[in-house]
């Protein structure tokens, strides 16, 4: 017999942590609400017949957000055998609101009273027996993050499913509400399964739009339901939804008073920390300092030390000479030697050389996410984003995009406002993802050695571009409108678990290594072939190769940006396959793996291609332009078609071109002391244009015409 167990609960109450514990998976866990936006399935360890389903975090079963709709559709339509309802023991009052609804559905419920480690640490006491009796379902104390109680609750859920134990809700609403629900229940009985009858009746009483759409009542039945609700509303002098909400909270309030004994009702440690890190004046400088340190340590300091060893010693002195000597010794042909040493080891090695930096960056980001600080950043950024037309909700995708743009784009699904969602998708990939890190490290190390600001500056440039885009786009017809309200629960701070942080770091880093062994491996082989063979399939010098002829054809497009060489042009295009390929292509063309980025020989090669200003322009263009194919695919799916995808790609590439153009043209005059030319004038005009688009006043046409109509009147 196959059994399906659903994990349901509020956002950030530990569902995915428990899911990973129970199934042995490594699903993404973040210490902020909204990490899981789609249900995920896995098999319970030791029970191959039991499927565990991790549902998105929700506060109620109302139809207002995507997560709520996904969860309740699953519960109602797929009817799991048991629901494990995770309740954050440190925040019972809010969490039990969902519980009161789950027990009404008619599916057996068992409560995992989670975060009991936090509760006990605070010195609070919860009377589990009383709570269990009052809710009509079993309650098991758990601390999922430490693996305590997870197996016990799963075993009990398994037994409940086998014995088909029913959960009978113990609370009831006021007499008039119960009467109305009963009348509605009688009317809807023939339309809904009997086990869901009460849940449907309550939802109909609340005038739930999705339920009303789903059940095709006759006009007569609809009128009767409306009359029943109206009579109850008149009696309570409130709308039906508020009546139910108030009654639930009254019930929960009494329940919590009876079951919870708080030791210290004053400020918690989290509250005290928040007074500083979310302070009106200190929040931004603290955030800037934190991210500066993270990128400085990951890319410029510790990361460089480790990466230099990997590039210089491992690949430069050990792997590449050893492979080359071996191939010569066994008598391999020269072309094969070149393919393996210059193409594969050079290209893949150049990418793998940056793995240590990536691991260090992911390690720090995991700590920041896990301890609860990143949730505060979303709160801090909401205040800033709001002024520029975006809400803090848009910052969650940006946070995730610092690992990879694909889940970042996907995370935009939680934004209900369609315009805000589309705009967030368009700007998400401006944040440098892990794959762009090697480019930053390479250019930063080669052209700006000893400058700790380069890597953090690229991160902040990404945020700046998001803000500028927000301001500009919100003043266009496509995106005009007020930002959606942003409500977010700030999780308690906690010391990150070593296991969780290391798993998180490994999962992200491993994906990078897999990609180096697959996509980058193939791409490097292809780049080697194209850069060593002519159209007549003869082995030639790079300048006469197929790649050179393709590069020469497209290079003029990038000439105004300062990198109009064929090598830079093909490198930029190769970044579309995967952004790591930017470094991989350089690796093949210049044999980066056997030279550190501060090697004089390599700088000599690079200097022929770039100046410091054009190198910056090249880096900025590649960080902001159209993302890799995987992210483009994600944009297409989330945008729902090619029209908006092309708008997004056009905007990203257009903005990247303009910004890189300004950097090169203005930078050449200011930094390199070159003469003021036509390009400089155009760049200044473009800058003025951007400032105009940012600071112009804009009123939507409908508002203008309304104003005109009023004036006429």
């Amino acid at each position: 017999m196959s059994i399906k167990i659903a994990l349901a609960g509020n956002p950030n109450c530990g569902k995915t942590t428990m899911f990973n514990d129970l199934t042995g998976s490594s699903q993404y866990v973040g210490n902020w609400p909204g990490v899981t936006v789609e249900k995920k399935e896995g098999k319970l360890k030791g029970h191959r017949d039991v499927t565990i389903v991790d549902l998105p975090g929700i506060y109620s079963l109302s139809p207002y957000t995507l997560e709520e709709v996904v969860t309740r559709n699953f519960l109602i339509n797929e009817h799991p055998d048991v629901i494990i309802n995770l309740v954050d023991g440190s925040n019972m009052e809010r969490n039990l609101y969902l519980t009161t609804q789950l027990v009404e559905i008619g599916i057996p419920v068992i409560i995992a009273l989670n975060m009991m480690d936090v509760v006990k640490k605070k010195g609070d006491v919860i009377n589990v027996k009383k709570l269990s009796e009052a809710l009509g379902c079993e309650v098991v104390e758990t601390a999922a993050v430490k693996g305590i109680g997870s197996k016990e609750v799963a075993e009990k859920a398994y037994t409940m499913a086998q014995t088909k134990t029913r959960t009978v809700p113990q609370h009831s609403f006021g007499a008039s509400v119960e009467k109305a629900i009963e009348e509605i229940g009688n009317l809807s009985r023939s339309f809904v399964p009997s086990e869901f009858a009460r849940w449907y009746a309550v939802k109909l009483f609340e005038r739930d739009s999705k339920v009303l759409e789903e059940l095709h009542f006759t006009k007569e039945a609809q009128d009767q339901i409306k009359a029943t609700i109206a009579a109850c509303e008149a009696e309570a002098d409130d709308d039906s939804e508020s009546i139910i909400t108030n009654e639930r909270y009254n019930y929960i309030g009494k329940l919590v008073t009876k079951c919870l004994h708080k030791k210290n009702p004053g400020m918690t440690v989290s509250d005290k920390i928040d007074r500083i890190v979310t302070n009106r004046w200190l929040a931004l400088p603290i955030f800037a300092a934190v991210m500066f340190i993270v990128y400085y340590v990951s890319v410029s300091w510790l990361g460089t030390i480790v990466t230099d060893w990997t590039n210089d010693t491992l690949f430069g002195e050990i792997v590449q000479p050893a492979v080359g000597s071996w191939l010569t010794a066994v008598g391999a042909a020269e072309w094969l030697n070149s393919l393996i040493v210059d193409g594969i080891v050079g290209g893949v090695g150049a990418v793998l050389g940056f793995v240590p930096q990536m691991f260090i960056l992911f390690f720090f980001l995991s700590i920041l996410e896990d301890c609860g600080y990143m949730a505060r950043v979303a709160f801090i950024m909401d205040r800033i984003f709001r002024k520029f037309g975006l809400s803090g909700k848009s910052f969650i995708p940006l946070l995730i995009a610092s690992g990879c743009g694909v889940p970042g784009i996907m995370a935009s699904r939680t934004i209900e406002n369609e315009k805000d969602r589309k705009m967030t998708i368009m700007v998400t990939t401006f944040i440098p993802c892990g794959a762009k890190l090697p480019l930053i490290a390479l250019v930063g190390g080669a052209f700006f050695p000893g400058s700790p600001w380069v890597a953090p500056a690229m991160y902040f440039m990404g945020i700046l571009m998001v803000i500028i885009s927000g301001i500009i786009l919100k003043k266009t017809r496509l995106f005009v409108g007020d930002p959606a309200p942003f409500v977010m629960e700030l999780p308690q701070y906690h010391i990150p678990g070593a296991k969780g942080v290391l798993i998180h770091m490994w999962e992200r880093g491993k994906a990078f290594i897999i990609k180096a062994g697959t996509v980058i491996f193939v791409a490097c082989g292809l780049i080697w072939f194209l850069s060593n063979f002519s159209w007549s399939m003869q082995m030639v010098e790079q300048d006469q190769s197929i790649l050179a002829s393709i590069g020469h054809f497209i290079a003029p497009i990038f000439a105004p940006l300062g990198f109009g060489t064929w090598q830079a042009a093909v490198t930029t295009v190769s970044g579309l396959v995967a952004k790591e390929n930017l470094v991989g292509t350089f690796g093949v063309l210049y044999g980066l793996a056997d030279a550190a980025e501060d090697d004089p020989a390599m700088i000599g090669e690079f200097a022929a291609l770039f100046t410091t200003v054009s190198a910056m322009s090249f880096m900025v263009f590649n960080l902001l332009c159209a993302p890799c194919f995987a992210a483009i695919g994600a944009i297409k799916r989330e945008m729902g078609g090619w029209k908006w995808t092309l708008i997004a790609l056009g905007y990203q590439t257009g903005l990247a071109y303009v910004v890189a153009f300004m950097i090169y043209q203005i930078g050449s005059v200011l930094v390199l002391g070159q003469a003021f030319g036509v390009g400089t004038a155009i760049a200044i005009l473009l800058l003025a244009g951007i400032l105009y688009l940012m600071f112009r006043s804009y009123k939507p046409k409908s508002e203008q015409s309304l104003k005109g109509a009023r004036l006429e009147a």
Partner: protein
């Protein structure tokens, strides 16, 4: 002979890597998006889960 054997191995590895990438994308398995860990199904639009 060495050239023949080594080149055969290299090209077979490349073909395998390309095939893996293609198949993985089609099946919804992770091909490495540098940090998606768990959101991989969204690369392909399928509802399948990559379990590490």
């Amino acid at each position: 002979m060495a050239t023949f054997i080594i080149s055969a191995i290299v090209f077979a590895a490349m073909a395998a890597a390309a095939w893996y990438t293609f198949k993985a994308h089609k099946s919804g398995k992770c091909v490495g998006c540098s940090g998606c860990s768990g959101h991989c199904e969204h690369c392909t639009g399928t509802d399948k889960i990559h379990k590490s």
